[in-house]
Every structure is written in structure tokens, then in C-alpha cells.
């Protein structure tokens, strides 16, 4: 099958690096929305972009602090000013030079195009949103004094912005190739990253070839990578179990993973993840508005049982709104509530003179977060009912209807899931706690708001961590939501694959350049 490696299907120079012709196949159930960084906000797309493009800074595997990628360094002069110095002599895979004007162009077009599937929302600190239908780069927000220097002037103190620069939405594109006002077709994208896109068949497969002109630090170990897109986990499971793909990453069910453990041809590699599952209280309902009830639920929830029964032990119980591995994280819920205890919960309710059993309505959505959600909801309901203090019932709705229903107060307590955009604790705090959070549950604590402002405006890591700790403690006290579990970042791979364990970290960036195949 190694006839002529003359690729077809467009994309870059179509060839690849010279070399031994090594390759591997990765299977995934993720979908790709767009290869253009201005047009996507999802795993599948971002994953390709991390390998095709460079960003100013990157998070190293397993780390939390941004390191230079296309830039030598990026540093804050003050909480509103960030300066980056580019590496000299960078080029794109088509030979065009990469300079600061490409960087500015990349951000400008991302904000202006404002694609409905895009992630320009992350660039709020440099956006002029005075006309919501026509956002543009805030004037003066990006200064390019010379071809290798970029200065960001933020419109508010935001020390998470450097982390935003590590995301795929901040990828650097070639201003001579990408249009300023619309997306570039998928099979024409080119970047300056370790790989270039040799072929893209939407919904079927993407082929990456090592970029011969790449000058960065992430030299690819493999020349060619085939990414196969699966519509359903069942054939993916079959494929990895029988060796038809070399790596399977996202998303196999807990049952599949556990059964693959006993397959001697593959390794199940589990890394730390940052997926978050949590139950939100609707503070506008009769039940949700009573603090003692919320605290009682936090006291009763048996996270180990949920992890075991609903997920076969493949998830980690979560004791805080921020997952472990993030700077400043502390298990506030464990400190405050300890192990599940019916007597302590009863004490809480008695002190507040609340009659038991309390009728409480749980809500979940059956398919959006996977088929085990129903098991988790049933398990939590059982735990509440078995305590004798609650009469819990469970309702469900498909994802679209669910979103409307929970905002209308159909449930007292409903389940949601979260993936971080970038690796900073704030990404688990601001979206949930400020002004009711994106789910509009009615929680509004001025103390929390001012603490959030404080950490966003602080460039001192220790100060930020202390503030994070304070916020987490308040959350454990107020219980606007109950954390349930954190997911792992899991991949299944043939025994001859290397480098995978290294890249499985809470960023969920699958760094193809680290992966190799022996023999």
C-alpha cells in the first residue's frame, strides 16, 4: 500500500518531510467544525489547530505555566499590558515570513469574523463590543512596534489573558493566505506548526504530514498521521481492540475502557483531566433558595458511590469547584463536609427548622453528556432518598429542551458538565459564580465578585492562589453548586506507541509531535 505517496485532496504542498515514512492512525469520536482558528470552539477542531499552527505561548505537557512557542517570551508589564517578543526568522509552511503583523491580523480577523461557531468570546479583553452585532479589535489593543514585538493593551485588568494566548483561538495565521472577513476553506489552511494538513475529508479523515519548514521546539517524531473520525464509539472500540487503529482518544465509555484493560494488545493510559461534572442549584425555587437544604445535599452526596456505580470507577470524585492540578486548588467541600453523613445533614436541617422529608426535583439530560448521566442521577436520587430526609424525583429532557427548562425553574438541582477553555482556575470561577453564571441560577455574592476582580487583576501568583482558596471556601459554604466528579484524560493505544502518557494532561491538547510508533 506504499505505492506512490503523491497525496491528493489539497492542503499545503501535499508532500511531507523526508524520512523513514513512519505513520500511525488515531481514531476519535470528536467532530471538526473548522480548521480555521477563527471558526471553531470545539475539541476536534482545536486539536488539529494545535498541531498545524503555532501560538505565541504554549502550556508544556503536564505543566501549568505558559512557555514561549512562536514567541521567545510574553510578560505582563502591568495587569493591562502584555508584551511578547517573537522568535526571529519564523516562517509558515509555504515559505511566507511570520511577523508581528501576522499576529495582529490573526486576532483582528478572529474578532471581526465573529463566526457563530467560533471562540472570539475568549478575546473579550481586546474587543470593542460597543456594537454587539459588529465587534472589532479595540483600537490600540494590539501594537506592533517592530516585526518581532507584539504589545497587548487590555481593556481591563486580566491576568488570564496570557493563558488565552495558549489556546487554539490565538493561533497565528498567514495574513497573505487567510481572508480578513471570512473563513478559509478547511483543506486550504496552512500554518507554522509541526504538521501541515495534507488531506481533509470532512467527517471521515484528516491526514497530517510533518512540516519540513518547522523551526520550533516541537520536532515531530512521526512523519504522517491519519486521524479517523468515528460517528459512534462502538466501531471505534472494535477498531482499537483489533489493532485497526493505533490510538483511540475520546470518547470510549467506562465499560469499554474497563474491558480494554484486559486486552493484552493495548494499553489504557489514564492521565489527569479537567472535565467537570457538577450539580447546580436553582436559587430561585423554594427548595434551592434555602441555604440549609443546599448544605444538606452537599453533606449527603456520596461521590465515591457515584463514581463507582455510574462510571465504574473511571472518574475522580471532586471536592471543589476547581479541579485538582490547577494552581490554587483546595478541596474545600471535603474540608467542610467530610464524609457523607446523614446525622450531620439532619443537624443542619434541624438548626434551620426545616421539615423533612423535603421534596426535591433533580434534572438531567440523557444523551448530551453520555449515557451514564442517567445512572448518576438515579444514584444521587437514591442517596437522598435513603437518608430519609429527602423525597427526590428525577426528570429528564433532551439537551435543547433541558436548557430552557432548567432556566425556567423546572428543577431544583440539575446536572451540567464543563471543560475549561484554558488552564486557569478562573475558568472554573467566573463563568459559574459571577451574576448567576452562564446558567443563570440566581447566585449573586458581592464578596465573591470582588474576589474575582482581585484575582483577575493580580500578577502575583501567590496572591492569586490565596484568593482562589478564599473563593472556593465561600463556594463550599454557600453551595450554589455541588461538584460531583472530575474526568480523566484517557487514551487507548497499541503496545508499540510511545509518548502518549506525556501528552495526557488537563489541557486535553493532544500533542501529535510527542507520539511515536516503535518498529
Amino acid at each position: 500500500m506504499v505505492a506512490t505517496l503523491a497525496a491528493c485532496g489539497g492542503g499545503g504542498s501535499g508532500g511531507g518531510a523526508t524520512g523513514s515514512g513512519s505513520s500511525f492512525i488515531l481514531g476519535t469520536t470528536e467532530t471538526v467544525t473548522a480548521m480555521d482558528p477563527a471558526g471553531s470552539y470545539d475539541f476536534g477542531s482545536w486539536n488539529m489547530q494545535y498541531n498545524i499552527f503555532q501560538q505565541l505561548v504554549n502550556i508544556p505537557p503536564g505543566g501549568t505555566t505558559p512557555q514561549g512557542d512562536a514567541a521567545k517570551s510574553c510578560t505582563y508589564q502591568d495587569p493591562k499590558t502584555l508584551t511578547c517578543h517573537l522568535q526571529p526568522g519564523l516562517t509558515f509552511s509555504n515559505g511566507d515570513k511570520l511577523t508581528s503583523s501576522d499576529v495582529k491580523f490573526s486576532f483582528e480577523r478572529n474578532i471581526a469574523i465573529n463566526d457563530p461557531n467560533g471562540s472570539a468570546v475568549l478575546l473579550g479583553s481586546i474587543t470593542d463590543a460597543s456594537d454587539p452585532n459588529n465587534p472589532k479589535l479595540a483600537s490600540g489593543a494590539i501594537e506592533t512596534p517592530d516585526p518581532t514585538t507584539v504589545v497587548f493593551h487590555l481593556n481591563k485588568p486580566d491576568t488570564t489573558f496570557i493563558k488565552v494566548l495558549t489556546t487554539a483561538t490565538a493561533s497565528i495565521v498567514d495574513e497573505q493566505v487567510f481572508p480578513a472577513d471570512k473563513l478559509l476553506p478547511d483543506n486550504k489552511v496552512i500554518g507554522s506548526g509541526p504538521y501541515e494538513l495534507s488531506q481533509y475529508k470532512a467527517g471521515e479523515q484528516a491526514v497530517l504530514s510533518a512540516n519540513a519548514k518547522y523551526q520550533g521546539a516541537h520536532k515531530p517524531k512521526t512523519d504522517r498521521i491519519f486521524v479517523q473520525y468515528f460517528n459512534d464509539p462502538a466501531p471505534l472500540k472494535q477498531a482499537i481492540a483489533s489493532g485497526q487503529v493505533d490510538i483511540a482518544w475520546r470518547t470510549l465509555s467506562p465499560t469499554d475502557l474497563n474491558s480494554l484493560e484486559s486486552n493484552s494488545d493495548v494499553n489504557v493510559i489514564r492521565g489527569k483531566g479537567s472535565e467537570f461534572r457538577y450539580w447546580v442549584f436553582d436559587l430561585k425555587t423554594q427548595v434551592g433558595k434555602q441555604l440549609a437544604i443546599r448544605q444538606a445535599v452537599a453533606q449527603l452526596i456520596d461521590r465515591q458511590a457515584i463514581a463507582q456505580k455510574a462510571y465504574d470507577g473511571t472518574v475522580q470524585p471532586s471536592y471543589s469547584i476547581v479541579p485538582p492540578g490547577f494552581a490554587g486548588q483546595k478541596d474545600s467541600f471535603k474540608t467542610k463536609y467530610g464524609s457523607p453523613s446523614v446525622s450531620k445533614a439532619k443537624a443542619l436541617l434541624d438548626k434551620a427548622h426545616i421539615q423533612t422529608p423535603i421534596t426535591i426535583k433533580l434534572g438531567y439530560t440523557p444523551t448530551h453528556y453520555g449515557p451514564n448521566t442517567v445512572d448518576e442521577a438515579n444514584e444521587l436520587a437514591r442517596e437522598l432518598n435513603n437518608s430519609g430526609l429527602f423525597k427526590a424525583s428525577v426528570g429528564d429532557a433532551e439537551w435543547e429542551q433541558y436548557q430552557t427548562l432548567y432556566k425556567q425553574g423546572a428543577y431544583d438541582l440539575f446536572i451540567l458538565g464543563w471543560y475549561p477553555d484554558f488552564l486557569d482556575a478562573d475558568n472554573y470561577l467566573t463563568p459559574f459564580l459571577r451574576d448567576g453564571g452562564f446558567y443563570a441560577n440566581g447566585y449573586n455574592n458581592p464578596q465573591v465578585n470582588s474576589l474575582l476582580d482581585q484575582e483577575l487583576g493580580s500578577t502575583n501568583p501567590q496572591d492569586r492562589e490565596k484568593t482562589f482558596g478564599q473563593i472556593q471556601d465561600i463556594v463550599a459554604q454557600d453551595v450554589p453548586l455541588v461538584p460531583s466528579w472530575n474526568g480523566q484524560n484517557v487514551a487507548v493505544a497499541g503496545k508499540d506507541m510511545t509518548g502518549i502518557a506525556q501528552t495526557l494532561d488537563p489541557t486535553y491538547i493532544f500533542r501529535f509531535w510527542l507520539i511515536g510508533k516503535k518498529g
Binding site: 442517567v374 429532557a397 435543547e400
Partner: protein, 316 residues
């Protein structure tokens, strides 16, 4: 009218009758499951513990759980028995609704003719040409939100697909029957249109309905299972449904866990087979071109003199 309805059953013979009987027996077993589920099934359909003792997860068949348990801690035997109830309810509901709407429409359309007829035929043809599963998907999509993944959503989805089938058959029978002499005679004695349709035509056209009905029922179960496979079916906490259980069990088979997928799958195959056999068996009789030409023994009458005339009497 009952006699006309049961005529196809009574006309069977030979192997056709055996097939019919086999199908009826299988269907009857599942009907019994469906009706008497609360008494036959060892546990409830979403029961996960008994006597304070939680069920194991994905346990192989044992004396406590005859068919094993699945990965949601449910007892599979109970899910199969309760599932029969779900299937029967959904199918009965959808077939009944389709018949109630489709048959009268076909009768009226065939009898009245004209523009009403042409428009209805166009509409029904369009729906009939539609791949039934796709229409079911779109309906389940639509109804899932407001009605929750419930029995009603699945039933209504199936109703919409099957109305055109009854419409077509009834209409074509009506069209050929309405020119018949007895209808003309009825008109001549002043019978109103309603009476003609109700008393005269209805009995004739209704004969083919049981055949279609059983074949549709079989199809409905397959479609329900397919909806479950695509994630558009009934939620496990609301009812037991074989398609859903099967779709969740598919991965297990490759891991050597055969019981979670086998029993629901077998249940689907058996019930659909049973219903199809009933339909097939009926078809053998209702369709006259399939009936075997039977050679009956014919005895020639003996030659006997006519005694009346021999006595010499004269006929006037």
C-alpha cells in the same frame, strides 16, 4: 362484521394454518408478558435492589437473575417482560391510531373522488414514499422535547408513517368496489352516502386490514428499536424498551458479556417474527391467487329414471 374480520383466519388450511398458529402462539406469549407483567416479572423495570440488597452490575445469568443483570443494575428478565408491555402499548397505540385515521380517510377519498381524492392521494403518496425510519426520526426529534422520551412520542411517530398504508389499501378497494352493482342498487333505493360507506363498503374493505395491521406491528417494533439505537427512543427510567437496552449492550458483546445483548435482541426477533408469521399466514388466505387449487372428489350422479313422468302423468 366480526365474522368478516375473522374470515381470513377461518379460511386457512395446511401449512399456512400451522404458520399462522405458530405466529399466534409467539405473539400470544408476548401479549401475556405485556398484560401480566406486574405479576410475572420478578422485579420492577427500573428496580435496582431488593430487600435492601443492591443488584450486581452486569452479572451473568444465575438463580437470582435468570437472564443476568445489565450495566444499569437492572434485572434483564424483568426488563424483557416489562419491555413486552412497552412494545405492545406503543404498537397497539400507533396501529390503532393509524387505522382510525387512515381507514375512514381512504373510504371517503375512494368513494367521493374528485379533488378531495386527488389531493389526499398526493399527500399520502408523498408521505408513503418517505423512508419510514427517517420520518420516525424527525417525529421523535420533534416530540421528544415536550413529551420527554416517552411512549407517546414513539407511538405518534409510528402513527404518522402508517396512515398512508391503510389509506392506500382501503382507497383502492373502495374505488373498485364503488362501481359494483350492489352499491348502485343501494343508491337506487335512496341510501345516503354515509350509509353506503358504512354498511356496504366497510365490510368488504376491512378484510385486508388485519394483514397489514400485523405486518405493520412487526415493522413498528423494528422502528422502535432503531429509534432506541439512535438515541431517540424511550428513557430507561420511564419504561423498559428492548431497543434501548440493546443499544447500551452492544459494546459489551465484544468484551465477552453476551447476556446483556442477547435477550433483548432475541425478544425483538421473536416478536417481530411472530407478528410477521401471522401476517404471512393471513396473506396466504386473503390473497385468492395464492390459494391452492384443491381437487375435490367429484361423484357423478347416478342415472335414475324420473319416476314422476314414468307413471305416465302429463306435465302441463
Amino acid at each position: 362484521m366480526l365474522k368478516t374480520l375473522l374470515a381470513p383466519f377461518r379460511n386457512t388450511s395446511g401449512l399456512a394454518r400451522w404458520i399462522l398458529v405458530a405466529g399466534l402462539v409467539i405473539t400470544a406469549v408476548f401479549l401475556v408478558f405485556a398484560i401480566f407483567a406486574p405479576w410475572i416479572a420478578p422485579f420492577g423495570f427500573n428496580q435496582v435492589s431488593a430487600n435492601g440488597h443492591a443488584f450486581p452490575k452486569m452479572a451473568p445469568p444465575s438463580s437470582e437473575h435468570w437472564l443476568g443483570t445489565n450495566d444499569q443494575f437492572y434485572d434483564i428478565l424483568s426488563r424483557v417482560i416489562w419491555g413486552a408491555r412497552t412494545e405492545v402499548i406503543v404498537v397497539a397505540l400507533s396501529v390503532a391510531l393509524a387505522v382510525i385515521i387512515g381507514v375512514p380517510l381512504g373510504l371517503i377519498s375512494g368513494f367521493v373522488g374528485g379533488w378531495t381524492d386527488r389531493t389526499l392521494v398526493l399527500l399520502m403518496d408523498a408521505l408513503y414514499a418517505f423512508p419510514s425510519l427517517l420520518l420516525a426520526i424527525v417525529f421523535a426529534f420533534l416530540l421528544q422535547g415536550p413529551l420527554g422520551g416517552g411512549i407517546l412520542a414513539a407511538a405518534l411517530a409510528l402513527t404518522a408513517i402508517y396512515i398512508p398504508q391503510y389509506f392506500r389499501v382501503v382507497r383502492s378497494t373502495t374505488v373498485s368496489a364503488r362501481e359494483a352493482t350492489y352499491v348502485e342498487a343501494a343508491r337506487a333505493i335512496g341510501a345516503r352516502n354515509g350509509t353506503i360507506m358504512g354498511r356496504y363498503l366497510f365490510g368488504n374493505v376491512i378484510q385486508s386490514v388485519p394483514v397489514i395491521g400485523t405486518l405493520n406491528a412487526a415493522d413498528a417494533i423494528s422502528t422502535l428499536a432503531a429509534l432506541g439505537f439512535l438515541g431517540l427512543g424511550i428513557q430507561p427510567t420511564q419504561a423498559a424498551e428492548w431497543g434501548y437496552d440493546l443499544s447500551r449492550a452492544l459494546d459489551d458483546a465484544a468484551a465477552g458479556i453476551w447476556w446483556t445483548a442477547l435477550w433483548p435482541g432475541l425478544a425483538i426477533v421473536l416478536l417481530v417474527t411472530g407478528l410477521t408469521l401471522v401476517g404471512e399466514g393471513l396473506n396466504e388466505t386473503v390473497n385468492p391467487t395464492l390459494r391452492k387449487r384443491r381437487l375435490r372428489d367429484f361423484v357423478m350422479p347416478t342415472r335414475e329414471p324420473s319416476t314422476t313422468l314414468a307413471r305416465g302423468e302429463v306435465e302441463v
